[in-house]
């Protein structure tokens, strides 16, 4: 069997349903094999979008996303998407063509050292120089991508390897002597955790993306309800614990709720579950939660004690470790007084916004929530749109919020929403965009129309790169240096691609426009003209302790 066919057979063995890819000179044999392969293939209009689509598909389904590009520029265009997936621990396999083995290193046409370029943004990568290694490499790549702390794996396949013949042997199992992730927590550590938890008076659970990727949402809820501890989530953790639950504190950190930040700062115990104490969460690190002991559960030992001092580290998969903890904890802790204090903060500092002349973006998010009854998948771009989407929609299911948390990639949301829609065709999928971000991958309108990928793009159009403008307003004396941005007529543009477009300029029209967008069986751009200089509040200025928030409190 030829290398290209081995690749297809291997993808089928891995139960891959859809491949996002773009053809080119160094992947011609692969595309020839794809021509009649029983695989759904999506052709984006830019390789970067292929990577984001694979990523969005993976985030929405929990399966490994697969993207494919040619050598050189095709591969380098994937890199932003690969880095995005890497920072958020998303399982992905990226396949790239490479110039033929005899030309590697010769500065050949469309040659780039792709394994070199992607070394620091992949969990692992391979250059396959012998077709006999191909099947095993693919099996290993999928295994590495989806196990342990998930992440992207890249396989670089020279064009001559795609053409070489060998027997197709699918390995029974994967043996990598240097790779053995720990899934269960050490029983001694679990006992210590249980003891500390029971004696705690002011515990807070701090839940991150690990809850989502390990599928630990049920265990998390059980634990929170058993020990009666409030739960604060990171951006990546949204949906890991229902925002409608009375123990939910919503999101913490730079644009978190005031009550989540106060609760963390005043707590005597932080139970970190699949989170990594990112600087957007901790704020000024030496002032972070001064009286709290810290339990840190994470599958990646290098996340533990990286940023903050940890009292009880537990290396393991969140789902397994929480299961172990639930068995170990027999009694509840007495948090009645603590929950009263937390309730007081919730009443005193709720999330608020004021209606101004133009439409409030927060209102749009509230309406989307009401209309979809919290059952939609919400993807976001990056910036103000992302924070409003995080704050003003109540996520109750894991994998319902899809956002570039770690890398903060503008242009991510639209293709990621498309990937999510392909993975979950029965769900309503929104991309919450800004007029800046949407223009970074707007060409994917064509892919949507061509493949009938029916996503709804809510453009919160304020004529600014809003988050940067907000920082300029607050910290750079309102010197709006190159953050005022123009765009096309989004309605006409959408229509020119064969998509639908709706413009909304008044608050009264928001609801109807959303209803209409959802009812249209096509990709829809909704161009919301929002308040131009609306800010995301509350906000913790960079380098401040997280209870020193400004704005947005009643």
């Amino acid at each position: 069997m030829k290398g290209a066919n081995i690749l297809i057979e291997s993808l089928l063995k891995e139960n891959v349903e859809v491949v996002f890819g773009y053809p080119g000179g160094s992947v011609l044999p692969i595309f020839d094999a794809l021509f009649d392969a029983p695989l759904k293939f999506i052709l984006p209009r830019h390789e970067q979008a292929a990577a984001h689509m694979a990523d969005g598909y993976a985030r929405a389904t929990g399966k490994v996303g697969v993207c494919l590009a040619t050598s050189g520029p095709g591969a380098t265009n994937l890199t932003t998407g690969i880095a995005t997936a890497y920072m958020d621990s998303i399982p992905m396999v990226a396949i790239t063509g490479q110039v033929k083995t005899s030309l590697i290193g010769n500065d050949a046409f469309q040659e780039a050292d792709v394994t070199g370029i992607t070394r620091s943004i992949t969990k692992h990568n391979y250059l396959v120089k012998d077709v006999r290694d191909l099947a095993r490499t693919i099996k290993e790549a999928f295994h590495i991508a989806r196990t342990g702390r998930p992440g992207p794996v890249l396989i670089d396949i020279p064009v001559d390897v795609q053409q070489q013949d060998t027997e197709f042997v699918w390995p029974e199992e994967v043996i990598i002597r240097g790779y053995k992730p720990t899934y269960f927590g050490h029983p001694g550590q679990i006992k210590k955790c249980a003891k500390l938890i029971i004696s705690s008076k002011k515990p807070v659970i701090y839940a991150g993306g690990g809850v989502i990727s390990s599928g630990a949402h049920k265990e998390l809820r059980e634990l929170a309800e058993k020990i009666k501890a409030p739960v604060a989530m990171t951006l990546m953790g949204l949906g890991g614990f229902p925002a409608t639950n009375e123990l939910s504190l919503g999101m913490l950190g730079m644009h978190g709720t005031a009550y989540a930040n106060h609760a963390i700062m005043e707590s005597d115990l932080i139970i970190a579950v699949g989170a990594r104490f990112d600087d957007r969460v901790t704020g000024r690190i030496d002032a972070f939660a001064p009286n709290a002991k810290v339990i840190h559960i994470d599958i990646d030992p290098s996340s533990i004690s990286k940023n903050v001092r940890v009292d009880i580290p537990v290396v393991g998969d969140c789902k397994h470790v929480l299961g172990q903890l639930l068995e170990e904890i027999k009694t509840s802790c007495d948090t009645t007084a603590w929950l009263k204090v937390v309730e007081g903060w919730k009443k005193k500092y709720p999330l608020v916004y004021k209606d101004k002349k133009r439409i409030s973006p927060q209102y749009i998010m509230e309406e989307i929530y009401k209309l979809t009854k919290g059952e939609a998948v919400i993807a976001t771009e990056v910036g103000q749109n992302q924070m409003w989407a995080a704050q003003w929609y109540k996520y109750t299911h894991p994998r319902s919020f899809i956002s570039s948390g770690g890398l903060g990639t503008m242009g991510f949301g639209f293709p990621a929403a498309m990937g999510a829609k392909l993975g979950c065709p029965e769900k309503t999928v929104f991309d919450i965009a800004g007029d800046g971000s949407i223009q970074m991958n707007i060409q994917e309108l064509a892919t949507c129309v061509c493949n009938k990928i029916n996503v709804k793009v809510a453009i919160l159009n304020n004529g600014y790169l809003g988050m940067v403008r907000q920082w300029q307003e607050l910290f750079y004396k309102k010197r709006y240096s190159y953050t005022c941005i123009t765009g096309p007529d989004f309605v006409k543009l959408a229509e020119s691609y064969g998509a639908s477009g709706i413009r909304v300029t008044k608050k009264e029209e928001v609801r109807r426009a959303l209803e209409k967008a959802i009812s249209i069986d096509n990709v829809v751009f909704i161009d919301f003209h929002i308040e131009e200089e609306e800010n995301v509040f509350p906000m913790v200025p960079a380098g401040e302790a997280i209870n020193r928030m400004i704005g947005g409190m009643a």
């Binding site: 394994t115 070394r119 620091s120 002597r177 240097g178």
Partner: protein, 156 residues
């Protein structure tokens, strides 16, 4: 503070780049690095001396190394009984009036002259870090023209 750690890795192309890339990407410093094959030709052995201000950074270095798929085992010699050696080649100025003096120094450190030219000799010396340091300071008086060293090798 300097710490000596050893790492066994898959003997594959690109592994050295992964290890070196990790150090540069995360801002860690390598003082020395020695790589070679082992009895098992599929495994390479790296001895590295790393600079870490505190225990936490050393821990991070070890954890990050462990995350590399091609890294098989890591040994930290900081608190572990071990033997370490380094080979040094030195070119020093030589004149016959210093012969006795130089030879007595070389004898003391089991070092030897491996090549002679008109006015210089090349000396081969082996030892642990302290011995090498002492030898260097003893030979300083004659003028050391050039020096190359392998970096530390360590085994427990």
């Amino acid at each position: 503070m300097r710490h000596t750690i050893s790492v066994t890795v898959e003997n594959k192309p690109g592994v050295l780049a992964r290890v070196a890339g990790l150090f540069s990407a995360r801002g860690y410093n390598i003082a020395s690095l020695a790589v070679s094959e082992t009895l098992d030709p599929t495994i390479s052995y790296m001895t590295m001396v790393v600079e870490a201000e505190d225990e936490r950074i050393l821990e991070q270095i070890k954890k990050q190394l462990n995350k590399l798929i091609d890294v098989i085992t890591i040994t930290d010699f900081t608190k572990k009984e071990h033997v370490d050696r380094e080979l040094v080649l030195l070119k020093i100025n030589y004149s016959s009036k210093d012969k006795a003096k130089i030879e007595s120094i070389l004898d003391k450190y089991a070092a030897k002259i491996v090549s002679r030219k008109e006015n210089t000799v090349i000396i081969e010396a082996m030892g642990d870090q302290d011995q090498i340091k002492q030898l260097l300071s003893s030979l300083q008086q004659f003028g050391i023209e050039e020096m190359v060293r392998t970096g530390k090798l360590a085994i427990a």
